[in-house]
Symmetry: C2
Subunit: 409 residues, 2 copies
Amino acid sequence: MSQLSALPGKDTVTGQRYTFAPRMAKTPKSFIREILKVTERPEIISFAGGLPSPALIDVEGIRIASNSVLEQDGQCALQYSTTEGYLPLRQFIADRYKKRLGLSVSPDEILITNGSQQCLDLIGKVLIGTGDHIAIERPGYLGAIQAFSLYEPEFHPVPLMNDGPDTASLDETCHSCPVRLFYGVPNSQNPSGITYSEKRRKELAAILRNQGVLFVEDDAYGELNFSGNSLPSMRTFLPHQTIITGSFSKILAPGMRMGWVAAPPAIMEQLVVAKQASDLHSNYLSQRIAYEYLLHNDIDSHIRKIRAAYQHQCDVMIRMLREEFPETVSWTHPLGGMFIWVTLPEGCSSMEVFEQALKENVAVLPGMPFYVDGGGTHTMRLNFSNSTDDTIITGMGRLAGVIRRMYIP
Amino acid sequence: MSQLSALPGKDTVTGQRYTFAPRMAKTPKSFIREILKVTERPEIISFAGGLPSPALIDVEGIRIASNSVLEQDGQCALQYSTTEGYLPLRQFIADRYKKRLGLSVSPDEILITNGSQQCLDLIGKVLIGTGDHIAIERPGYLGAIQAFSLYEPEFHPVPLMNDGPDTASLDETCHSCPVRLFYGVPNSQNPSGITYSEKRRKELAAILRNQGVLFVEDDAYGELNFSGNSLPSMRTFLPHQTIITGSFSKILAPGMRMGWVAAPPAIMEQLVVAKQASDLHSNYLSQRIAYEYLLHNDIDSHIRKIRAAYQHQCDVMIRMLREEFPETVSWTHPLGGMFIWVTLPEGCSSMEVFEQALKENVAVLPGMPFYVDGGGTHTMRLNFSNSTDDTIITGMGRLAGVIRRMYIP
């Protein structure tokens, strides 16, 4: 299965020939989305996706907020608005950074985006020239690999250890070439579930500071740490070199595509130009609904519910891994988020596991697409946020059986 | 006033140095948005913007649709969804192409975007390599100039006549270099208000067919033709070489950022990859609300109301131009849309008119940013959709006075 989409020159039906920009040949199609298409059948137990639990979306609260915005200020909420986004919502995000992480972020340093995926596109537009060197965790988030690929950088993967990136390897990379930025997910990383330790964060900051490298801190899962105790943002250690991306998808609702990027003023100025050129501004109605919801509901209490539920689902999945899987299989122990990373013995193929498990109506996500330099063929990502206890127990039981049959003679 | 944003190397407050991608130096900031900031004061009568009339947004209809979606299928409407967009909405758009323009477009050839501005970004991503030659109307839509600039093409402006682009000039350009695409707005063009005649459309199609050049048909204003009689889409004449961009901003509500692109299958395949990398998918809640609204309301009757109102506002503005302005000033006679293009005598400066008029609390949009090759210093765009009779009469009266005082000794 190739990650690179071909550069089709011809429509197979009409025979019309087209020429596409070279960047398209470098952009991997989302393997995840391709797999999700296969796994959409209702009889499939899917650990392949990355959906938050639908039961933890406060539909009624959002309905009331939506109704209220449209009743009280509909003409304005449905009109064009500013590129930067709704100021009270940006102020809310800034206040939350202060309260949760002790960070001083001005609302002027925040831009509302169409989900946090769009932050990656805007960062690519603004910071990545063709052939620029960028560093990324190994394994790294597929969405970032896709978004950045369009700007044709040279990727330098930095191995992820159990407590964060291999800083020695990063340091070596930074000495060997001018690295523009390092993209990472310090809290409950996608795909691995790993959280950087505070020690690792400080080491990392020291290297990036010395080398003048920006850190792109994707914090999609920071609110979902099971303990509720947040580790410091990299912006604490690297105030002028950190760009944070955030998301309401995991704490409010993904369908509204509400994310944001927080960046130092000089970078923000460019991000706003790029945003304007990309889509003028984010959905203003949804910005107003999100703010109205946050104003009238206790988001902290809602987030505590999500944390408790995901921690429980994660525990059930890990219990199944411990009790049912062969001893040669290992896995990460997430402190939060939505994913566990499973490593099969060397030589085993997670693509084969995927195919065999699908026959038993269980879907997993093979790990290869998360490696920009190949490898990872014996790894896979399991999502626990979108399954109940029962489906986790049933699905993991079947998966254990598949792996035992395949690799234990 | 320079169109090019500088490439700031340094944060003026922190002293931190940053390096931006070269493409950012080539992207004009939106002059319109900079001007709109100046003109946001409530005492200003603004003909500078491009807002639809807020009185013609059916707020109550949208509130009912939103409530209904969230009541009946909220968990799903708030979850992640497919990159392509909500199938029933795409089917509605396809059906409307058939009914309104006689076009056979499959829903598979339609992708829902974050406003029609995003179509331009996606088209740039997929089709424009650095240095590629693209043709654009002169004057051309600023949003397209901005979006495409990020992909660093070489622009070739094609003069716009009263009945469409100067086809001889386009033909010459196509002979002098390999033109990748021609971007145009055949119906009630932004900024000029010009509509291509059917004869011009056929001539244009013949040239593009011969030269193998794609046509990007921005049809943001197609539904707003005052007479209700649509001219054929360029896809009628160039079925495999036309990409159409569409928008609900002018007929439903801009704040929901709902647009779409319709393209032949081989191009659509690449657009979907680019969309996925850019922001996964468009706001799903808003897609559901838009569809729910369209299902339960008579959109044709609503559009007829918008057409009648805009035609009336356009007539009032043209009457003021005819009765109050010096004879040396000329203007276009739009068949639809939201804009009139005004040409002052050679040597007059619309930037000076802008500055003088602003002192009398009237805002106009100088025409220069719509010219990729300079020029247009004596032109300006006037918007009539977002003003009442009274504000048009008062504002145009003041503007006439300013111009008379400046240019008639």
